[in-house]
Symmetry: C4
Subunit: 254 residues, 4 copies
């Protein structure tokens, strides 16, 4: 969901505790599912005009509620610093912001799963003439159709339908489809090349999102995916297995 | 087990709390085992003339006991609505009902596991003359024999033996075998094609169940399986691996 | 460890609660590790002249402490029945007894893991002249060497060194090696064919154990393994992967 | 981090309870992740001049806090014995010490994971002229580049930057790079052959560490890895899969 007006103080206190705990709980779940092992992966939740962000470079299954950053969505000013002073904000924050601004996302997950990395290497295809040529600098896409799990994903991400009112924030989500992806639809996810530093991904990811407004996520090759959810992870895992036995990912023939 | 007469009120209160909690606990276990990741999968339990059903389209590992629907088995009238008013009944309900009506099922699990989807694509064979030709519109079957885990499955499902007394509900389970499947038996599960909406699966699944009264489950291609249990999931996983190394699924030769 | 003299009453009470809980806890762990999914797998613990046995045909992750059977090691007389009267003793009991009598086992685990079943089908070799021909009716063996995990296994099982004093119970464990298996040693596990009923496995398993006194376990093809532990499960998993990429299991060359 | 001066008594009491609990908690996590199944794997933490070490040959997911050994880093004198008198110190201790002395490690993990063993057999290459020939007796290396997960690893291990002040303890870490490994860097990990007893690994591992001062870990073929962390385990898993589909591990071309 998009940013809401600031709620009264008591609600903030209650919501604050809730969303801090939720960030910790979901990070632990990301760890267990393999999306955030080591110190990789991360997530944020936007609620009540406050952005709750997991700290950077720490084991995601061990975050304390008091160590979740609370920052302003615009400018990332720290509203409430973490209890542990040495912690730093996730380097993914500018990338999370793209999903918030361009797609109206209320929560963004970044996954480092083996499935996402393997799919990015073995289950992608080059962009060609039939795609209208290379757009937004994207030379490869992940593409899959005819799987029930597609129905757990939304065109442009879960909150894209709300993105129209965010157009002043730079989003062009209004140009794409909204609502749930269907069983017979073809999901296309742009794949961008990785860079040594996450901040260097921002312009490429923004271009990819603008060029592929329907995509609920952007894959970063040999790195992971921004805009992950469990349905997408399922599809990455399945696609890797399907390619491993030589099956086509689109068409539903087999 | 089949529907029982309505118990006295006190028992209902106790049983109600128990079965609500059990739905939540089993849904969490389905999530952990990979059968209900994302918002996929689901289950229901029939007890004391009440059907306990997981809500639709929510993460199955996070269902609150108060959010389990209680509906009437016939007509799905909501007896007790969920605490969260925005929740909706599982779209699987008409499919769960087929298992209740035709097989006397007391609980039905729907799995979206990678194993079930992979097995449906890579470990099935076309129906031929030796099968008596195409029956119930089923053109493919999953077939396996000579595995100890078969003994955890029952002809027509665990409760099929009770299905005789349900014949007025439209079931023809009486035509099939009952009891545990044996080590040397050949399990045959019909595979039907998926459709954009779950309601469109009803007639095909009913026809498949009638044509294959011995089958404890029906697979839906590129979607999952209705009538899943852990023994069946094990067989899907194993069958996919066996086919991956070129082994036959029937005969027990290797 | 082998059977000990009956301890004083207070110790029995304390130990009883402990070993009942331990059976439940270890069964849950077997479930989590994949060794006892569905209603498969099982285990028993021999302590203080009492055999603590998981009930049969129930989900192993859900056993209540009060539902663990306590039986006499000889004759399986039920000393304390389970709280739930409808439960039945594990059909594996006569097979567990072989390990107790012939190998002095103090605990026996039966695993149904995918790894054990796959290894039994894809990582075994026929018995030949170099093995001294077919002994005890065993026509295939699982064989592996040069892996550190071997050091977690013992010749004839963990308690085989105590088996000498059990010879009046029919064991001939005295004929084999004892102590930990070494890194450079070759583990050989006999593989017997499965039968429709577990009781039909007894004579074949007894013959295999007598013919292979050094083996800490017996594999049952397309079924699982008796005498499992996590080190052995690791080796089954690894062996299946090694064979999957064409590696030899013995010699340590690669 | 390196050894610190002995802290005041009260701090020791608090820290002692904390680090004992942490060893148990991390060992359980190693078990769950597959790095310490059976009785394999292990770990130690160096804090306040005291070395907290998991006991040897016991299931790592079941260690009691009172059973963690506290020993002196030099000489391994037992400062506080475990509550269970029969427990013995990890045979890995001399190998853990190498990482403490040569790399300033504040904690060392030894993993027995399937991924580490498979990578050591299938994702290594022989050392050649381009490597400057065989150094420290190391004839094979694991080598990988262009993966985001590399950024969770440090040249010479996390604490190598502190190793300069440890040179009187025999370390030559000063000769290598320090800081985080980059996305485009090539990680090279020496692989040594396994031996029947862990004590026999000491000289080979010391030589490998001296010859490869940049390496954050040493792999032991058919055994596991010393200096493991979850990022490294991820790379072993991924590398095994990449080699399984014929991909190069270095260069980032695919």
């Amino acid at each position: 969901m998009g940013p809401a007006p600031t709620p009264p103080v008591n609600d903030v206190v209650t919501a604050d505790a809730h969303y801090r705990a939720l960030v910790c709980e979901l990070c632990a779940q990301l760890y267990t599912s393999g999306a955030a092992t080591g110190t990789g992966g991360g997530m944020c939740i936007l609620e009540g005009g406050r952005l709750y962000v997991a700290p950077s470079g720490v084991p995601k299954e061990r975050i304390a509620s008091a160590d979740v950053f609370v920052v302003s969505p615009a400018g990332y000013e720290v509203i409430v610093p973490p209890a542990t002073a040495s912690l730093s904000l996730s380097a993914c924050l500018p990338l999370f912001s793209l999903a918030i601004e361009r797609r109206g996302a209320g929560a963004v997950v970044h996954s480092h799963s083996v499935a996402a990395v393997m799919a990015g290497m073995t289950a992608v295809r080059p962009v060609g003439e039939a795609d209208g040529g290379i757009r937004g600098g994207v030379t490869e896409v992940f593409e899959i159709s005819h799987l029930e799990m597609l129905k757990g994903l939304f065109w442009g991400g879960r909150d894209a339908a709300a993105a129209g009112r965010l157009s002043d924030a730079g989003g062009d989500g209004a140009g794409g489809r909204t609502g749930r992806i269907g069983y017979e639809d073809t999901l296309v996810i742009p794949v961008i090349r990785n860079t040594p530093f996450e901040r260097e991904l921002v312009s490429g990811m923004a271009a990819a999102m603008d060029a592929y407004p329907d995509a609920p996520a952007v894959m970063v090759k040999r790195h992971g995916v921004y805009g992950a959810n469990e349905c997408l992870e399922f599809l990455f895992d399945l696609a890797t297995r399907m390619r491993g036995v030589g099956m086509a990912l689109v068409g539903g023939d087999q």
